[in-house]
């Protein structure tokens, strides 16, 4: 299942080679579109040549359909993709500044690289300017750091904002793009004929355009009809990857490992207790939250778990294995990384610590201190929790 973890499969150098090849494809696509020419890019803002809009939105919708169609049929796990974090207001202000830079300088960062590569001196000057500008930003940031970190949402999609399903949103985006393309053609025709009288000829018939548009609509319709997989369907797609962790008991931790982890300052531990409310009220571990299986299908509950920092660990407690395993599957396919089950829940918890004392005193059973571990032989449990030091792949903008 995609995405591949390329650097772990090919090593660092191999990973860099893949990035280089993808970059080459990117460079070719930009150059083919004519984006190495500042005049073409600038003409977008005088309505004379709408190539920027057409190429950019075609790129976006083609990638969008490929991503969500592969996700719908189980080729790709969308939760593993890096989605740009949203810092709404800094993004808006930054975008407006960039618009000004775009029309004054005639390029954007990516296209100026292509212009420089095709030996355009103005592209090189623009790129030099962009390097300086990036430096100026770093210097000036302390003056408005608060603002720059404001209005933050980790992973906030257009579909979340609209309250629509992803499929419906994809379909709407495609329709929106096609309407925009039609408008762009008309606008271009009007302004170019009024300007130079030259019309562009691509030797492509009206029928091919309609065929292209039709294909996009049909594919977008498929994305909508098939829908993004719910956790049950997604588990079927991903079972071969994760089931082994359940069958080998690799994710079942001993109560003592729980105590150890809970007392480690560097780990952010989140404990979800799936037992019925009355059992939870009778006794629960300090800091644990009482949730139901249905809660684990809600974005508001799952999103914070999937977006934990690398040293975040989630532990599930339930009255029996069938509940905890179901919960584990739900959360795993929704992208929760360090996910474990407390073996046998809390059934043996009290008896395990029953006659134990620390420095002659009894302790709170809901949060045993780390000293308790010394009362047990060292080999009384097998350490299972592994925390990858590797940060999940972020965007390339940093």
């Amino acid at each position: 299942m995609l995405p591949l973890d390329i650097s772990s499969e090919l090593g660092k150098a191999g990973g860099y080679l893949v990035f280089f090849l993808i970059g080459s494809g990117f460079g070719v696509a930009l150059e083919l579109a004519g984006f190495g020419d500042s005049r073409r890019l600038a003409a977008q803002f005088y309505f004379k040549d709408m190539t920027v809009l057409k190429t950019m939105f075609t790129g976006i919708i083609v990638a969008c359909i490929l991503i969500f169609l592969s996700s719908a049929v189980g080729f790709l796990d969308f939760t593993q993709l890096a989605v740009n974090q949203t810092f709404l207001w800094p993004g808006i202000i930054g975008g407006l500044i960039m618009g000004v830079g775009f029309i004054v300088g005639g390029y954007c960062p990516g296209t100026s690289v292509v212009a420089t590569a095709s030996l355009k001196l103005d592209g090189l000057l623009f790129l030099t300017g962009a390097v300086l500008g990036a430096g100026l930003f770093g210097e000036s940031l302390p003056k408005f750091e608060g603002f720059w970190y404001s209005s933050f949402t980790e992973r906030f999609l257009v579909s979340d904002w609209l309250g629509w399903s992803i499929g419906a949103t994809v379909f709407a985006v495609i329709l929106f793009a096609l309407i925009m393309f039609y408008g762009a053609e008309k606008v271009e025709e009007y302004f170019r004929i009024r300007g130079t009288g030259k019309a562009m000829s691509w030797k492509i018939t009206r029928r091919s355009y309609l065929f292209g548009a039709g294909t996009l609509v049909v594919l977008a319709g498929l994305v909508w009809i098939i829908g993004q997989p719910d956790p049950v369907r997604k588990w079927k797609y991903m079972e071969s990857r994760y089931a082994v962790q359940l069958t080998t008991k690799a994710v079942f931790i001993h109560p003592l490992e729980y105590v150890k982890t809970n007392n480690e300052a560097t780990i952010k531990l989140i404990t979800l207790d799936l037992r019925p409310g009355k059992d939870f009220e009778a006794f629960h571990l300090s800091g644990s939250q009482n949730v139901t299986l249905d809660d684990l299908l809600k974005t508001s509950v799952v999103a914070p778990l999937a977006q934990l920092p690398p040293q975040g660990v989630v532990v599930l407690i339930a009255e029996n294995d069938s509940v905890s395993i179901k919960a584990w599957k739900y959360l795993k396919v929704q992208g929760v990384v360090n996910l474990y089950i407390l073996e046998n829940g809390l059934q043996n918890w009290k008896s395990l610590f029953a006659d134990k004392t620390v420095a002659g005193k009894t302790f709170n059973l809901a949060s045993p201190p780390s000293e308790v571990l010394k009362l047990f032989p060292k080999d009384s449990f097998i350490q299972k929790i592994k925390i990858g030091s590797k940060k999940r792949a972020g965007g390339l903008c940093s």
Binding site: A33, C64, T153
Partner: protein, 173 residues
């Protein structure tokens, strides 16, 4: 006589290629495309050559190049090198690889270079402000339906259209 450059590719075809490359980027590397991150890294590495202590002091620079960290040892830099190589190869095959200054007919070459530099500074500043450029934010974020990226994208167009009238001499026929 020099051969004429070949005409550019149909924008929808070029866009489709772009979309497939973008999908490949997501499928193989988890993340989309980008350029501004690598540009920042070049800036930090240049600053590092002459003023290491300053790189350690400024927060955003330190993230990329504090102490012994090599700011260029990052996937985005290799993506940028690839973009450069791909652009050059495509330009070569399409007879667009030639030394020139592209400008509107009404301004001088010096003026064009000056404005390219100024525009670059504004763009470089804005791209850091927005945490990504047209490729990293608009294209990649747009394809995965990130709301912030869509808002950002429209703002780039608004900023461009709002300024276009005032700088029309730069590009007018």
């Amino acid at each position: 006589m020099k051969k004429q450059p070949k005409p550019v590719t149909n924008p929808y075809l070029a866009g489709t290629i772009l979309g497939v490359v973008l999908f490949a980027a997501f499928a193989l590397t988890h993340s989309g495309l980008g350029a501004s991150g690598a540009i920042s890294r070049i800036q930090v590495s240049l600053t590092k050559l002459i003023w290491q202590s300053h790189v350690d002091k400024v927060g955003t620079f330190a993230l990329m190049g504090a102490g012994d960290t090599n700011p260029l040892d990052h996937a985005s830099v290799f993506l940028l090198l690839g973009t450069f190589a791909g652009g050059m190869i495509s330009a070569l095959f399409n007879r667009r690889l030639r030394f020139e200054i592209l400008k509107g007919p009404r301004i001088s070459k010096t003026q064009r270079l000056f404005f390219a530099l100024i525009g670059g500074v504004i763009m470089g500043y804005g791209a850091r402000f927005a945490r990504g450029c047209t490729s990293g934010q608009a294209l990649s974020g747009g394809a995965v339906l990130s709301l912030g990226s869509w808002a950002f994208m429209f703002c780039v167009f608004i900023g461009g259209y709002a300024t276009a009238y005032f700088v029309r001499r730069l590009w007018a026929d």
